[in-house]
């Protein structure tokens, strides 16, 4: 089947990122992104169907086999799986939570992923993000919605010096270019 692949918002900009070893920048490919909101009864089954239990502690990520369950609010989670078709995950969670009050939305095309990695990644992010990104205040496994300059992002620390940024696609060039600007002093 000939399939038309939608272009990603960073295809052009990210084709030739500046080579900065202390803060490498990568535009991530398509991913499955689902937003799950639900009451107590539906939370457990949804996590089981997704393969990762939904974190109950604020601003935490649970991860397994390349799948991430991000706490975004007390009844709101983002389920993220890089390079995965969202449809089977969606169907599995819907089946597991049938009859239980919840809302499951496929937002895969809404945002795009950027990874920034290296010993100066937190420094570069800190130029636009008002949070304390030290390992004590923002440890590995923490995630949150926040701001990068004027754009809302979802920020996840997946390793001591690796951050995953999820940004709405129309804001992606803005965030990318400001990250590039922040890296210029290391080039």
């Amino acid at each position: 089947m000939a399939e038309l692949m939608p272009s990603l918002p960073l295809d052009t900009l990210a084709a030739a990122p500046r080579d900065v070893a202390v803060a490498r920048l990568v535009a991530l490919g398509p991913a499955a992104r689902l937003v799950f909101r639900g009451r107590e009864a539906a939370i457990g089954p949804a996590g089981e169907a997704f393969g990762v239990p939904l974190p109950r502690e604020a601003c935490r990520v649970n991860a397994a086999d390349g799948r991430y369950a991000l706490w975004l609010g007390p009844d709101e989670w983002m389920l993220l799986a890089l390079d995965t078709d969202p449809a089977p995950i969606f169907a599995a969670i819907e089946a597991a939570t049938a009859g239980l009050p919840h809302a499951l939305t496929d937002v895969s095309a809404r945002s795009t992923g950027i990874e920034i990695a290296g010993p100066q990644a937190a420094f570069v992010l800190g130029q636009g993000c008002p949070l304390d990104l030290s390992p004590e205040a923002f440890p590995v496994g923490m995630c949150t919605r926040t701001l990068f300059h004027k754009a809302e992002i979802v920020l996840v620390r997946t390793a001591p010096d690796i951050f995953h940024i999820d940004v709405w696609r129309s804001f992606a060039p803005y965030v990318w270019e400001l990250l590039e600007e922040g890296r210029r002093e290391f080039a």
């Binding site: 007390p74 008002p130 926040t146």
Partner: protein, 98 residues
């Protein structure tokens, strides 16, 4: 930058928040039974105190939840924040965590 304690997420910078007006204003259960003056009071008239003020805030660029805060309108000092639905803590106490 002002630091505000979100009851869910903890201490966060002010730019992540949006102001939501005075807290603890319940919509009248039977608006048609009210006089025009009472309805106008509900819609428009606020206490506007000089001093401690209970108000709604929303952690817009965070967990997205509304919560309530007691703030001193003279010093802009946040005395305490608490989840929506919880009663206002004693106004006279110097409670809170900052």
């Amino acid at each position: 930058m002002l630091i505000i304690d979100c009851p869910w997420c903890g201490a966060r910078p002010e730019v992540e928040f949006a102001y939501g007006g005075e807290a603890h204003i319940a919509r009248p259960s039977d608006p048609s039974a009210l006089s025009d003056q009472e309805w106008a009071d509900f819609l428009y008239n606020r206490t506007n105190p000089k001093g401690l003020h209970a108000e709604r805030w929303r952690h817009l660029h965070g967990c997205g939840r509304y919560f309530n805060a007691v703030r001193d309108t003279v010093s802009d000092f946040f005395v305490v924040t608490y989840k929506a639905g919880e009663p206002r803590p004693d106004a006279g106490t110097e409670g809170g965590d900052r």
